[in-house]
């Protein structure tokens, strides 16, 4: 069988699903962050795949740009998690509700 | 009769208290700008109120001086069209009957105003005196009430009369409700006290007003066209002079009967009941004891001294002046009720243990004489009834002031709880004895003149039943003597009850209110001519309509 666009999309879909599943089910903020990364990368994979099969490079460029952004995002998110951990001695996202109205 | 405006003196008298209240309102509005303290505002309100009361009295005396007692025509007329659409006029004017009441109003309010000044003796911090409570509001309402009463007596337009009549109602409600006794439970667990009494007074009088309003509207639509103050012809009229003339011409007797009852009788009854509640006439009298017991002293003074007279005045002015035939038709029913008022009131007095309640019921009894005089429809009796209004208007304020004197000190009015007070308060005892004697109709004092004229007049009434009624109601002289002397005995005589060691005799504020009234009682008792002369022509005219 040839590896075509659908296969890419299936992988991307699986990644998305796993990421969402992680986000929804995990309490640990770090794990949620990892889920977010999965979802993000699923999206990026789609961009690359469409780019590859549509014949222009715009998607590839956009994916690279997204990876850079994801790195920055991860940094910020991890910093927040770290601060939350410092403040509450816990990384449980559901407990970090002090700022809730 | 010339009904054009010829003097503004009466209008000034009527609205002087209103000016005073406007001044107090202005003061309140300016208070933040002027940065006045609460105390300053209170003192200024009292000052303005007193000035208004004094000026009103002075103006009413000026009216008296200028008054021509030789005619029953209206004097000091001020008349213009007020609401053209409904042919309502602003029409003030007085005849002898009105003027006697206007002067009495001014005097009673002056006394009431003085009695509203703060307690000059030692203040008892446990029982704050009403005179220190929400002072500006109190004076505003008091002055509004005075304008209302003045207007009631001076209005010669039925609608204007009704407006002033209602104006009287509202301030009284608040004055009793807010400055009166706080709410409490009586021994039977029923709620009593200022708010209860105020609501009772308000609703009761309002019920009367509704009847009056219905009668007023009925009369208006039954009335014939008449000339308005601006010279135009209106299809109907509220003008009392026109109404009286039309009644004499038979306009109302010709009106259609309602449910088989002649129109005039129906209207008469409506008006009469409206006024009777205010008098108060048995069996509509029960608001009076409650209102008196829980009202502050000056309000009791005003209530007994002048507000009750508005009812009697209304009967003379409307029932007698406009519907003399209906009065004749109802005369013996009114006579019987009057006797019930007199005798029943006196008996109920005897059983009272609260001094103020006793005096309140004695008012019921004494106003019965006015009713009897009205019902008897002889010149002597009507003169007597009017004199009784004035006499009672002087004596009953004294009695309520006196009840206030002892209540301010002892914080109770339970007659049985005193005893031997003459030892501690000799002056108070003497003046109370005097007031009691005046009230029980001792010859030479004001109470006697009215009583004896009513009796003599009623005895000579056409209808023989009045001789029986006089004989029965004369019983009241014994009962009255009984309850007053028994009260004297229980409160003042006998061994001194040492519980009252702290009581002090009268202070100057109380003397200033009481002694002039006492002097007036003696003067009118030995020389009643000023009042009788003033009302003679008016009464003659009223009688001529019979």
């Amino acid at each position: 069988m040839t590896i075509g666009l659908p296969q890419y999309l299936v992988v991307s879909g699986v990644l998305l699903a796993l990421g969402l599943f992680t986000i929804v089910t995990r309490k640990n903020a770090v794990a949620i962050l990892m889920g977010v990364e999965l979802v993000l990368n699923a999206g990026l994979l789609n961009l690359v795949a469409f780019s590859r099969f549509s014949g222009n490079l715009d998607g590839q460029v956009f994916a690279l740009f997204g990876i850079v952004l994801a790195a920055a995002e991860a940094v910020v998110a991890l910093a927040i998690v770290l601060q939350v951990f410092r403040a509450q001695r816990s990384v449980d996202a559901s407990k970090a509700s002090d700022l809730k109205e | 009769m010339d009904l054009t405006t010829n003097s503004l003196l009466l209008t000034w008298t009527v609205f002087t208290p209103f000016l005073g209240l406007t001044a107090i309102l202005a003061l309140l509005a300016l208070r933040p700008a002027l940065r006045l303290s609460q105390k300053a505002v209170d003192e200024a309100s009292r000052g303005i109120g007193m000035i208004a009361a004094v000026v009103a009295t002075a103006l009413s005396i000026a009216l008296w001086v200028d008054f021509d007692a030789g005619t029953s025509n209206l004097q000091f007329i001020h008349r213009f069209v007020w609401m053209k659409a409904w042919n309502i006029e602003f029409f003030l004017g007085v005849d002898g009957l009105s003027l006697s009441m206007v002067i009495l109003t001014a005097v009673v309010f002056l006394v009431g105003a003085i009695a509203s000044l703060p307690w000059l003796g030692k203040l008892d911090s446990h029982h704050p005196h009403f005179s220190g409570k929400r002072v500006p509001g109190y004076w505003i309402l008091l002055l509004l009430l005075e304008t209302g009463v003045f207007g009631t007596f001076a209005s010669q337009d039925f609608f204007l009369f009704y407006v002033f009549w209602e104006v009287m109602l509202l301030p009284m409600y608040f004055l009793i409700g807010i400055w009166g006794a706080p709410s409490r439970k009586d021994p039977d667990g029923r709620t009593r006290g200022g708010p209860y009494a105020a609501i009772k007074f308000f609703l009761y009088t309002l019920a009367g007003s509704v009847l009056m309003l219905l009668a007023l509207i009925a009369i208006y639509y039954a009335s014939a066209p008449a000339m308005l103050a601006d010279g135009t012809q209106g299809p109907h009229t509220f003008n009392l002079v026109h109404l009286t003339a039309q009644a004499k011409a038979g306009v109302f007797t010709g009106a259609k009967a309602i449910l088989g009852v002649p129109f005039v009788h129906l209207v008469f009854v409506g008006l009469f009941l409206g006024f009777a509640i205010k008098v108060p006439m048995f069996p509509f009298h029960t608001w009076l004891p409650d209102a008196h017991v829980d009202a502050p002293t000056p309000i009791s003074v005003i209530l007994a001294g002048i507000l009750l007279k508005t009812g009697m005045y209304g009967m003379f002015r409307f029932n007698m002046q406009i519907f003399p035939e209906s009065l004749a038709w109802a005369s013996w029913a009114i006579g019987i009720i009057a006797v019930i008022n007199i005798v029943y009131g006196a008996f109920v007095c005897m059983a009272q243990k609260d001094l103020k309640k006793l005096i309140a019921y004695s008012s019921v009894s004494h106003m019965g004489f006015c009713l009897l005089g009205l019902a008897a429809m002889t010149s002597t009796a009507v003169n007597g009834a009017v004199f009784q209004m004035v006499g009672h208007g002087i004596v009953s304020p004294m009695l309520f002031l006196l009840a206030g004197v002892v209540y301010d000190r002892a914080h109770t009015r339970d007659i049985e709880g005193f005893g031997g007070l003459a030892q501690k308060m000799p002056e108070y005892t003497a003046i109370t004895g005097f007031a009691f004697m005046a009230s029980l109709g001792l010859p030479g004092l004001a109470g006697f003149v009215g009583e004896v004229l009513v009796f003599l007049g009623a005895f000579a009434a056409h209808d023989g039943i009045f001789r029986v009624l006089v004989a029965i109601s004369a019983l009241s002289v014994i009962i009255t003597a009984g309850y007053y002397l028994w009260t004297m005995q229980r409160m003042f005589l006998g061994p001194f009850n040492h519980r009252w060691d702290h009581l002090s005799d009268m202070n100057w504020r109380e003397r200033i209110t009481l002694y002039p009234l006492a002097v007036a009682t003696v003067l009118l008792g030995v020389w009643p001519a000023p009042v009788l002369d003033m009302v003679r022509e008016t009464v003659n005219t009223l009688m001529a309509g019979m």
């Binding site: - | 009761y204 005897m350 003169n383 000579a460 003597a481 061994p495």
Partner: protein, 761 residues
């Protein structure tokens, strides 16, 4: 008819007679307290005595002027119109004719003397000023009563004396009993006043409305009366209520007959008028049935008892009937009633007097009894005799009361005669004057009372005016028995008080006739006088001493008058001039012809006079035997007798026939119960109805409110409630948990995808 037309002579000083005491009353009432504190008693009693004395002088002056004027002259002083109303013209006018002249003299003279006496009797009274103020006020009221020329002015005095009587009886008000006595006096008097005023109303109405033409019999049907009154309004008979004008009207036989023939309530109008007026007289003059207040009135200071309750005020009823003789003589029924009530009262009170121990009570009942004699006199038409007895009574009874006051003061405010005795040696002047007065009241020959009382007995005997034939003789019999009783109990009081040994204080031993009672009483503290201010004599248990000269001098003057005062009215029988009768003759001339004699001759008069003397001495000797020196054991034995009859009789009479108790139950308790009942009715039923109306109103509005709330407003509320409930549920979704949102988001997206597929399929 008058022989001479009445002449009215202006005497402009007349008003000063009542006014001067009024000034005294006002001065002492207002300034007295200060004056007394600053200047002592003299500052009080000087004006208080001088002003009534001034009245006396003016009264005397006016009286002498009157005496010098021709027959039928009256002194008049018009001041102002009191009640200027329509047909009623009540004037303030004082009138001194021969009748009111005599009265004014008696009142001012005795009154002034009693003022003098009071300076001694009341000298330790802290409220000295108040006493004199009241006393002066009384003089004013009494003189107004006497000198007023019309019904209403008389009524002013009439009520005024009642007021003063109240004030003075309750003078020592700290004692509840005394205060009550005052109240009782006033209220009982007011009952009389009611009768009086109704009588005046009726008279006035009768004068106004009597038809102008003689109506046929049966004109008193309602239509007749109505027609009559209509007519009368047009032409009233009288526009004045002055006595003399009413008298003049009634002298016109046509007008008179119209009123006399008119029937009211099945009774002659004139009879009804007179009976009502007489009710007033019974109240003021303490006759049956309204006498009950007078014995209690003895609670007042003794000078008061002398002045008001013996000499002056209580005689007002007699004066009134005499003044209105022109009415009373027109009604034989009324005259009979007056005389009968008088006679019965005389006897009734005399029997009670027999057994009293309180010296003042004895005198009180004797006063009631003597007033009864006077009413017998006016009842039989012997008006001048009544006034004569009124005058002599004023002298001797005032003297007796003042003597008793002297005794009471001497015995340290002891009034029980069982604790007196032997005072003749200790208080000689009092004893002598008391004896003279006793002799006068008993009717010893040549004492003042003899002339007046004997004349009453004779006039009663000879009366032809009683309805019942021979009624005069019955009247005479009753009054003669009363006279016997009078003589007995007066001398009983004299001997118990003045003879024998002093039994008060230290010497209290039960050798008195009534040992048992006295014994108990003697052990009580003799000084246990009520804690009144007047108990300030600083006395110990020492013997009584004679009173100060202010008191004894007055006693002497009055005692002298009790002795000789009767000589102005010597019996014509003796062929001596009767100045008094001649003096009053013009007053009563108008009705003299209506007063008829039963036709007994001089022989009968002589016999009766002899009998009177026998009666007087009979009572005297009986009392002397039984009570002199307290030696006779008979009274004690009689009272100790086990006989039921004796015991019951004594107890009944001693307790005054239980009349007070009966009145108390019937009238006092009755009206109290009635008033309480009515008060409860008022709060429960009448006010209950008002409150019920309020409650019903409130319930109705509550119901309305409920309907409004449940149905009308309910619909609106329902919408709101649904929204609210939904929001309440939905709100829960917003938890703030991002995970939950994402979950929802994912599931939602999935669902959308599934939906898209399903739809495409």
């Amino acid at each position: 008819m008058h022989d001479v037309a009445p002449v009215l002579q202006d005497f402009p000083l007349l008003f000063l007679i009542p006014l001067l005491p009024l000034l005294g009353a006002v001065w002492n009432g207002v300034m007295g307290k200060t004056m007394q504190r600053r200047f002592g008693h003299a500052a009080i009693h000087l004006p208080a005595i001088l002003l009534p004395a001034g009245s006396f002088v003016i009264a005397l002056w006016s009286f002498l002027t009157l005496a010098g004027a021709p027959h039928g002259t009256s002194m008049i002083n018009h001041l102002w119109t009191w009640l200027p109303v329509g047909t009623l013209q009540a004037e303030v006018t004082f009138l001194m004719d021969r009748l009111s002249g005599v009265m004014a003299l008696v009142v001012t003279f005795v009154g002034t003397l009693i003022h003098v006496y009071s300076t001694g009797y009341m000298k330790d009274e802290p409220a000295y000023w108040r006493f004199f103020a009241y006393l002066n006020l009384f003089m004013f009221a009494m003189l107004t009563l006497v000198l007023g020329d019309n019904f209403l002015l008389m009524f002013v005095g009439w009520e005024g004396v009642g007021l003063c009587s109240y004030l003075l009886i309750s003078f020592w008000w700290r004692d509840r009993e005394k205060a009550t006595a005052g109240m009782k006096a006033f209220v009982v008097n007011r009952i009389g006043d009611l009768g009086f005023s109704l009588g005046v109303f009726l008279l006035f109405w009768g004068l106004l409305t009597t038809p102008a033409s003689p109506a046929p019999k049966g004109h008193d049907d309602p239509h007749g009366v109505q027609a009559a009154s209509h007519q009368a309004e047009a032409a009233p008979l009288a526009t004045s209520i002055a006595f003399r004008e009413v008298e003049q009207i009634l002298q016109d036989p046509i007008k008179r007959d119209r009123i006399v023939n008119r029937d009211i309530l099945g009774m002659g109008m004139m009879t009804l008028i007179c009976l009502l007026l007489f009710v007033g007289a019974t109240g003021k003059s303490a006759q049956i049935p309204l006498y009950v207040w007078l014995p209690d009135a003895m609670a007042g200071p003794t000078p008061v008892s002398a002045l008001i309750h013996a000499a002056t005020m209580v005689t007002a009823g007699v004066y009134m009937v005499a003044r209105l003789h022109f009415l009373f003589t027109l009604s034989p029924v009324a005259m009979t009633v007056v005389a009968t009530v008088g006679a019965l009262t005389a006897l009734f009170a005399a029997t009670i007097g027999l057994f009293q121990y309180d010296i003042k009570k004895v005198l009180a009942y004797s006063t009631v009894s003597q007033l009864g004699f006077m009413f017998v006199a006016v009842g039989v038409g012997a008006y001048w005799v009544a006034i004569f007895h009124l005058m002599t009574h004023a002298f001797f009874k005032a003297c007796l009361f003042l003597g008793s006051g002297s005794v009471i003061m001497g015995c340290h405010h002891e009034q029980d005669m069982r604790k007196m005795g032997g005072l003749r040696k200790l208080m000689p002047i009092t004893a002598v004057t008391y004896f003279i007065s006793c002799a006068a009241i008993a009717g010893f020959p040549f004492f003042s009372g003899f002339f007046s009382k004997d004349e009453i007995l004779w006039k009663a005997f000879d009366s032809g005016n009683m309805l019942l034939p021979g009624g005069g003789v019955i009247l005479w019999a009753i009054t003669a028995i009363a006279a016997l009783g009078t003589s007995f109990y007066m001398f009983r009081s004299y001997y118990m008080t003045f003879s024998g040994e002093y039994r008060g204080a230290a010497a209290a031993h039960g050798h008195d006739a009534h040992a048992a009672v006295a014994h108990v009483a003697a052990h009580a503290d003799p000084h246990a006088v009520p804690a009144d201010s007047h108990d300030a004599h600083g006395h110990g248990a020492h013997a009584p001493v004679e009173s100060p000269v202010a008191m004894t001098s007055v006693l002497a003057v009055l005692g002298g008058l009790a002795l000789v005062g009767g000589y102005v009215g010597l019996p014509l029988l003796w062929g001596l001039p009767n100045v008094f009768e001649a003096w009053l003759e013009p007053i009563f001339a108008g009705t003299a012809q209506r007063v008829t004699s039963a036709g007994f001759g001089h022989g009968a008069e002589w016999v009766l006079m002899g009998f009177s003397i026998v009666v007087a001495f009979g009572g005297f000797f009986a009392a002397r035997i039984l009570y002199k020196d307290g030696r006779s054991p008979f009274p004690a034995r009689l009272l100790a007798s086990p006989s039921r009859l004796v015991q019951a009789t004594h107890r009944t009479i001693f307790n005054k026939y239980y009349v007070d108790e009966a009145y108390n139950v019937v009238f006092v308790k009755g009206s109290l119960v009635l008033s309480r009942g009515l008060a409860i009715w008022d709060t429960r039923v009448i006010d209950g109805a008002v409150n019920l109306a309020g409650t019903i109103g409130r319930s109705f509005s509550f119901l309305q409110g409920a309907i409004d709330r449940l149905f009308v407003d309910g619909l609106v509320d329902l919408v709101a409630k649904v929204v609210q409930a939904a929001g309440d549920k939905i709100r829960r979704l917003q938890t703030g948990h991002i995970q939950a949102y994402v979950q929802g988001l994912s599931l939602g997206a999935l669902a959308l995808v599934a939906l898209a597929y399903l739809l495409a399929w």
